[in-house]
Symmetry: C2
Amino acid sequence: MDMPQLRLVDSKTSVTKEKILDAAEGLFMEHGFEATGLRQITAEAGVNLAAVNYHFGSKEELFQAVLTRRLDPMNQERLALLDRLETDARDQPLTCEAIIGAMIIPALTLARDKARGGKNFLRLTGRAYADPAPFIRQFLSHQYAPMIARFKAAFGRTLPHLPARELSWRLHFLMGALSYTLAGTDVLKLISELNPVATDNDELLLRRLGPFLVAGLQAPLADLSELSELSAKPKAGRRGVRPA
Amino acid sequence: MDMPQLRLVDSKTSVTKEKILDAAEGLFMEHGFEATGLRQITAEAGVNLAAVNYHFGSKEELFQAVLTRRLDPMNQERLALLDRLETDARDQPLTCEAIIGAMIIPALTLARDKARGGKNFLRLTGRAYADPAPFIRQFLSHQYAPMIARFKAAFGRTLPHLPARELSWRLHFLMGALSYTLAGTDVLKLISELNPVATDNDELLLRRLGPFLVAGLQAPLADLSELSELSAKPKAGRRGVRPA
DNA sequence: AAAGGATTCAAACAAACGTTTGAATGTTTC
DNA sequence: GAAACATTCAAACGTTTGTTTGAATCCTTT
């Protein structure tokens, strides 16, 4: 039988390949990229050491594969949500809440789905955002550029009074608070020592982040005229900190 | 020549010690802790390899020394500023702007002072905030705990209507946006491709961050009653988010 | 069954890692 | 001047790093 080429090799996604991805995801999340060894990964995955270079080529390419596996679908989900909001609203501009929701909800969904890495994976991406390694920065730019451009345009329509440059800044702050929150470091404990927050409830977390970001985006413009006063070196403090 | 040597060894800091600190500061900032080798550091500092372990004990202790050199004075400055504001205001509660200013201004001053590392150093600390390495987390907690506690109390007096737990969250978001902004990764370019921001003007940067954070802190409380709607896997939403 | 490609495996690779050593040099104190 | 301490230096320590190799094994196709 001249069966058409259904027997494909690419869609195979061999078992070892995913075992490596799973193990690498957890270890990269916990110790970071540089501090995680290939031997730890392959040991936890139960595969041979050489399997990484065979299936992925290098450690860096493995790291990118770990990220794309989850990030790509999530960003597509974000764009799909935004698309739907815009077509539903016709010409009317969207609310800030709605747009931010389109950014947050896919992340929330991912955080809940333990089969897709859960919040551990989000911590990994939050960490990657602060990594200066060129291959990471380049990868993230290429991965996020289209999504962020679309959302920036959406915010621009919703906040027409805001100069483009100001919007760029505020989006930067927004991404900071978001990725930092998703990274979920233990600075949290540092802030609220006596009333520890339930870190397992990511829904509440993002639900509280929303209003914070909305208010920040809608904040009145800064008055840049009289800024030299505060920034001046404080004159002789009378009751200062004891230099013991 | 009986000229008394002018106490060249200011037993506090030898020349090589500071050369190492300077070189390490730059390299840690650029490549991160794990990715920076002691041989790079000592080569750039022009000192012997063993000098690091002789003067600092280990690589980890060197890293902590790099951080404390700048961070300690900055946090003391923050506390001194807050102290002065509170004594000036007597019993009156401070404004959000003022408290945030006390956090931001010392960072701004440090960013301007190139002799103290400038903004490069701030990028290093922003990076350290996202690092999961236990010794880094422990060090930062110990270093920041008193300062954050004081500022949290100040915010609590200014925003009495805000539940303590909510305030903890918002402080977390605030620290996220702040440290992320200070880290100053190139995601900035990603957001504003066509209107690149002048990254050298840190004063304007932090001046714009202020209103964003003030508005976020003063945001109305989240309505936590009907939160299952948005987060739920696409069902039927009222207006806005509607699943396909 | 034989061939051929895909995958696994143990072993080794060179390079880099942080740290230690012991002698050589510099500096201060008696 | 000599003893005592502080610092520098070259060299090597034992691991660990990411990557490569070549043969063994599995699986599909002829």
